[in-house]
Structures are given as structure tokens and as C-alpha cells.
Symmetry: C2
Subunit: 111 residues, 2 copies
DNA sequence: TCGAAGTGCAACCTCAGAGTTGCACTCTGA
DNA sequence: TCAGAGTGCAACTCTGAGGTTGCACTTCGA
């Protein structure tokens, strides 16, 4: 999203990515320090494969970026992406308030 | 959420609510003008019952409020709730950036 | 060079939830 | 008072996401 869109299927996809508790937990831990899938799996109640799938989802929506060093792949969260999403949400909220106020005014004038 | 939390199961629940395309579409339409479940179903490719379930989910996380007038129930989005969520996201993004900068500094100093 | 650590891929299982149909109830207006 | 509009509740189907096990591949270090 980001732009005139402020909605649509793409938005729902990002929210769906953030909507899983395990995924959110992964993001929180990556926020403390970048880590590999194996390291994350060691401190979470799921297998490395499950963590890998979650990381793939998060990477697909741009919330996580990864870089390989040797046999290890380090993952870290992308703050700017989340910041952007937060701003979009506030914009949508603002437009809701504006429109609903207009609807209310029309209704009152109509009486 | 809203507060020192900025994460956790409650957060994931709100995102999960926003993560469904149909639900997002419902929110967008309610943002244009309050409407009943039947009215929404008439312009969406799902039945009234499906719309009703989505509205229940949205109401449960505080994104929609409803008021009955006669035999009709009007639903409208709660802008403040979304605004609050947007602010929380930006706070989390900021803390990520801070922590990752610290990690980077430590790594560079360690060399 | 060989074992261990880390990763990637694929098949499989399970269950929540998105959607449906069906019926009973309430309210409005003619 | 009666038909239609709007809603609520319950049972049911079915797809997809989250999770697992199993195996093959690469990379590092002793």
C-alpha cells in the first residue's frame, strides 16, 4: 500500500502476516537482535521448519529481510515497513472520521 | 494494547481481524457510510450470515460499533481504535530501529 | 576428510474459520 | 392483522494455514 490505496487485498495480506501470534513473537525477538531460523526455533515452541515458513511470509510482505553469511542466514525486521503501515492506518482512521462526520451532518440537516 | 504492551496475543488478534480481505472491504464500506448487515451483503459476494460473522469479529476487537434502530442494526467503524493501532505500530518500529542500531554498534566495536 | 551445524524442499496431518443453508423471531407498514 | 424486511442462532461443508517428520544439500572446524 502506501499511497492513494490505503486499502485493498495487499493491505489485508500484511495484516494477515501480522495476525499470527507465533509470527508476532518472531518479530519481537528479531527486534531485540537479528537471528537465524535455528536460533529462533530453539527458543520457541515450534520446529525450525515452522519458523522458516513464518519467516518466508514475513519476508514476502517486506517486514523482514535476510542475509546469508556462510552456512547461516540472519534475519532482521524492517522498521520502516511497519512505520509506513502505522502511518497508513492513521490516515484511514482519519478519513473514516471525516466521512462519518459528513454523514452525520447530512442526516441532521435532512431532519 | 495501547500502553507499555506494544505486542502480545491481544495485538495479534486485532491484526488477525484486519487480515481478512472481506473484513477489510466491510470496514472500507462502513467508512463511507454506516450500514446494516443486509445492506452490506447486498453489495458483497457473500451472504448476510457471513457478513454478520465478520461484523462480530470486528466488534469483538473494538473496530466496529453497532446500534439498533427498530428492526435494523446500523454498524460504523471506530476510527480512534485504528488510529491507536497505527500509533502502536510506529512505536514498535521505532524501538526496533533503536535496538538494531545498538546491536550494530556492539558488533562493530567487537571487531 | 569427516562429522556436526544450518539450511532447503516435499509430503503429510490437523483444525480453525470462512462460507453456506435452514429456520424461527421481531419489527414495520399497508 | 398479515406479508415482507431485517435479524439471530445452529448445524454443516470445505478450504487453507500452521505444524510436523523425513531426507538431501552446503558449510565450517577439528
Amino acid at each position: 500500500m502506501s499511497g492513494r490505496d490505503s486499502g485493498g487485498a495487499a493491505t489485508a495480506t500484511v495484516f494477515a502476516a501480522l495476525g499470527d501470534p507465533t509470527r508476532w513473537e518472531i518479530l519481537v525477538r528479531l527486534g531485540r537482535a537479528p537471528a537465524s531460523a535455528s536460533a529462533l526455533a530453539a527458543e520457541l515452541p515450534v520446529t525450525r521448519q515452522a519458523v522458516g515458513k513464518h519467516l518466508e511470509v514475513l519476508r514476502a510482505v517486506g517486514l523482514v529481510e535476510s542475509s546469508r553469511s556462510g552456512r547461516e542466514v540472519l534475519h532482521r525486521p524492517v522498521g520502516s515497513r511497519l512505520d509506513e503501515l502505522g502511518r497508513d492506518l492513521q490516515r484511514v482512521a482519519e478519513s473514516w472520521d471525516r466521512r462519518l462526520a459528513a454523514v452525520k451532518e447530512i442526516a441532521e440537516r435532512g431532519d
